[in-house]
Symmetry: C2
Subunit: 292 residues, 2 copies
Amino acid sequence: MDSQPRSICLVGVGLITGSLGLALRAAGAAGEVTGFGRDPRRLEKARALGAIDRFSTDPHQVVAQADVVVLGVPLGAVAPVLAHLAPALPADAVLTDVGSAKGCVVADVERVFGGLPDGFVPGHPIAGTEHSGVEAAFASLYQNRRVLLTPTRATRPGATETITAMWQAAGATVTTMSVAHHDRMLAMTSHLPHMLAFGLVDMLSRAPDHEEILDYAAGGFRDFTRIASSDPVMWRDVCLGNREAILSALGDYQRDLTELARLIESADAAGLESVFASAKATRDANRHRFED
Amino acid sequence: MDSQPRSICLVGVGLITGSLGLALRAAGAAGEVTGFGRDPRRLEKARALGAIDRFSTDPHQVVAQADVVVLGVPLGAVAPVLAHLAPALPADAVLTDVGSAKGCVVADVERVFGGLPDGFVPGHPIAGTEHSGVEAAFASLYQNRRVLLTPTRATRPGATETITAMWQAAGATVTTMSVAHHDRMLAMTSHLPHMLAFGLVDMLSRAPDHEEILDYAAGGFRDFTRIASSDPVMWRDVCLGNREAILSALGDYQRDLTELARLIESADAAGLESVFASAKATRDANRHRFED
């Protein structure tokens, strides 16, 4: 598709799709941006905030007219929501999503449609805040952020181009990779760190003197707590959805932690300094990547 | 001591003691602030930056005149530096330090002096940045920050009052507790989180595709990398100095991580959501403690 989409339908309008809607409308990158969901009051809020032009709780009013459908529901809801939408989805529509894991979404799509539609382009914008809901959405969320697309063996090139152009219109850079590579990368750089942070906050909150512990949170603990403020349901679904890659990364980490414990146990000064110096060197060499 | 100190000597003038010197001189909280160290050029820099009034590499020129001596050297250097200073230290001087662990400092002092001096007040300001050196020092570092003092069984009350007043003059609030309690608290809120972060950055830096991994650092990993930029020598010494409390906290954490891995392995949705919700509730209930 060379021209811009006439109609982009956002299925579930929260922080991620809401920000996309705001960006696309600001950029004039679609004829219209519509919304579909279960709660008309939340959809009205999305419209009032400018994320969408119009909405409906009936897929035949919005999904059926769409050139592009962006699935913005929790990973655990992908299969039932798609099953609900499928009868209204135009045969040549491009379907994409924004989930933090891709293998499970591909599996859900394949199950619902009895195969992989050639218009399906799994996607994942690497952006977000610890807030949720369309009230937290803003048009510049994707400026200079990276979006990962994982076209399947069935995806037609034109569909990938359409979704690439959509995210570029929102200000993002787009990279494609395989589903497996995506899930492994994200397990290491996002899912595992979240597990580690959740685990630490949970452990300290159960300590007998946890009130006092939280008073001394300035010393490193605070960095972990921001992550722990993320949505529990989303992260439950990420664990279930990217289970194998997360378990693999977690296993590797646990082995490294055991080795670190051994270095401390045996008071191996040189070994400890080496681990810490390596980590610092990595961070310092890559500062530019870590700062907005 | 009711009146302010005539002479406060900073032994080692880096970020922590340098900022203290800047704060005390700005507050007019001492007759003079002096510096002692090995490198006259670095001491001259500290003087030029306003952290100290004068300095010497000869303890008899600065330590011998001090009412208060603040030890600001790495944990691993405490014993040898104290042994070097001891002949010049006035019998009634108040001695304090700024180390991230207290048990090892108390042990070093006891060994060097053949007992615990009644003027010795172990201390630890909960403040700092990932930078080091007096060039990074600033006068407001301790504003509204917490300083923990761990007077020993031998410490005279007047000495604790002197050090309390000193830190209050720098803008901090002061809390006292036992050495063991301090080391356990800091193991959980600072030392363990640093171990976890160092471990993660080190693991990812050794992955075959680590260059690409670092490109996707926005998703949680970045929060860990700031911690990993800390001084490797300081953290080596913290591991060695607070070894038992760190191993205890690390062991508890490893057991919790094994349980989390089990929840993921068995796809226990309710169990996972419960852990994440508990962590989020803790963080949200304590936001005010985590934000400056």
